[in-house]
């Protein structure tokens, strides 16, 4: 029998996860800003807009701005790399930080103010998040390592990439129409 003794208060969870998401996003912005480039003003604007959008989404408990914020931050980073041909190793960190920010932001927004979570629920989610970020880091490192090798880019590789992109768009459209 349980009266739900060991619980974590929702405001505390929301505060911590929101702060974590904003911190991760701020780190991405720092990386973008310190990278320099010719379109610094535009990079600053995109980074600021992304951070503001995420903060607004967190404050209003709206999930809509989160993907936009991630895309804007990613655009700011890519803009800084537009005139450089060498592969940037910091993309691994930026990718993992963006995922961490999005995960924490969705956690914060999904936390209902009235629903108190028991400690094992929070611990399980933290463990899954840690594992996911570690896996994402490894995958990104491998991806960048493979891409830095001199591999001829043939029509087959381009077709596979296009198919993956089309499949992703189709999935977005399907999810937009109805649930899973």
């Amino acid at each position: 029998m349980s009266r739900g003794g060991a619980v974590v208060s929702p405001p505390r969870t929301r505060l911590i996860t929101s702060a974590g998401a904003l911190a991760a996003f701020a780190l991405v912005d720092v990386i973008v800003v310190t990278a320099g480039g010719r379109l610094v003003v535009l990079e600053y604007a995109l980074s600021g807009l992304a951070l503001g959008g995420l903060a607004a989404g967190l404050a209003l408990r709206r999930a809509g701005p989160v993907p936009w914020a991630v895309l804007l931050a990613a655009a700011g980073y890519v803009l800084g790399r537009h005139d450089r041909s060498a592969v940037d190793g910091r993309a691994v960190v930026v990718g993992v930080l963006l995922l961490a920010a999005a995960e924490l932001a969705y956690w914060s927004i999904g936390e209902h103010p009235r629903i108190r979570s028991e400690r094992p629920v929070v611990a399980r989610r933290l463990a899954l998040l840690g594992a996911l970020l570690a896996c994402a880091f490894v995958v990104d490192v491998l991806l960048l390592a493979v891409s830095s090798l001199a591999v001829p880019r043939g029509a087959v590789l381009a077709a596979a990439g296009t198919a993956a992109a089309v499949a992703a768009v189709a999935l977005v459209l399907r999810l937009g129409r109805k649930g899973v």
Binding site: M1, S2, R3, G4, V7, A63, V66, P67, V70, L71, A74, Y77, V78, R81, V87, D88, A91, V92, V94, G95, V96, L98, L99, A102, E103, Y106, G110, H112, R114, I115, R116, S117, E118, P120, V121, R124, R125, L128, L129, L132, L133, C135, A136, V139, D140, L143, L144, S147, S148, A158, G161, A164, A165, A168, V169, L171, V172, L175, G179, V180
Partner: protein, 423 residues
Amino acid sequence: MTLESTATPKLVGYTAISAVGLIASLVLARPELVALTAPFLLALAAGLALARPPQLSVRVGVEGDRLLEGEETSAHVVVAAESPSDRLDVYFRLPPGLELVDGTNPVAIRLRPGERRDLELAVRARRFGGYVLGPVYLRAGDGLGFVHWEAATAGRPQLRVYPSEAVLRRVLEARDTEVFAGNTVARVKGEGIEFADLRRWSPGDPAKRINWRASARRNELHVNESHPERNSDVILFIDSFAEARLGPEGTLELAIRATATLADAYIRRRDRIGLIGFGGILRWLVPGSGVVQLYRLVDALLDTQIVLSYYWKDIDVIPPRTLPPNAHVIALSPLLDPRSVGALLDLRARGFDLTVVDVSPVPFARRPTREPDTIAYDIWLLRRDALRHRLQRAGVGVTEWRSGESLQMCLEEVRSFRRRVHA
């Protein structure tokens, strides 16, 4: 239990990020973009791979189905899982008259395969009434929050909360009594304890009734006559045509509390009690005695509510068995609806022993501050006074009872009026 699945905004958001990232990396041919998109694709793949609809069974119960106002009981929500659930939100909906005293509701729990959890909630009854608890809403989520499964339980326990009763030291005695033994001294003469009169002995009178002292003084045999102790029929007439309400309290609630108090007091005196709920919906209970009748009456009271109706009703709609000829009718009414006032005057005209407890709506109607409104308010008060006088002129004992006042005091006021009228 059938669960309905829903995609969360996170699933849509991650898919959108992945799609845009992949297209952009193809168009711009930059490996960094793939590195930015890959974590989101990985999260999507992992989330959808881990997402399995949970196999759950839920049982809801309450310890005991009857309570008194202010008492506490325990509600149990037992959740059993055959498959794991990383996050299960459980919300047991409580109706407004009940409040949670101890326990966490709603709560998010984690269940392992084969685990069974009993969530105990201590619930206090704030207000009397009949309540249907629940349903229990469940929302299960996968570990990463991409998909939700939702369901609500079909089984809903019921709880009846009885009003707390005040103690009455004395109640109004009926003018006429019935034939069964009770606590009221009858006006007629018969077998009893209470001395009534002396009369000459006549053949057949038992020797134990001879008053020897009076017989010796008068040189002929005289016997004592006595009043028997009989029960009486009391009909509690509750007016549910209209009520005055301010916040959580209203005249109907007060009338129900007073009716329960009176019913309890009369049942203790072995009187027969009946009920007439006169309003948009007509309810009645044929007179009876005993604790079972008390429970029946209070159960009927819990279902009494104001139902708006424009249909003109008079006492002819009341079944004759509900109104025995010698019954003492005690009406609890805010005297707001002319139909109930008309019915009360009609009852009196037909010779019923009638008492009206005017459950005053005045405390529930704030006095206005502006000039023309105050005049209307004062006229309304005067018309209420005039109505009470009209009832008194018809021989009806009327008392105004306000929230917070003692019902006993009001009954004593009626008692003195009845004594004057009968004298």
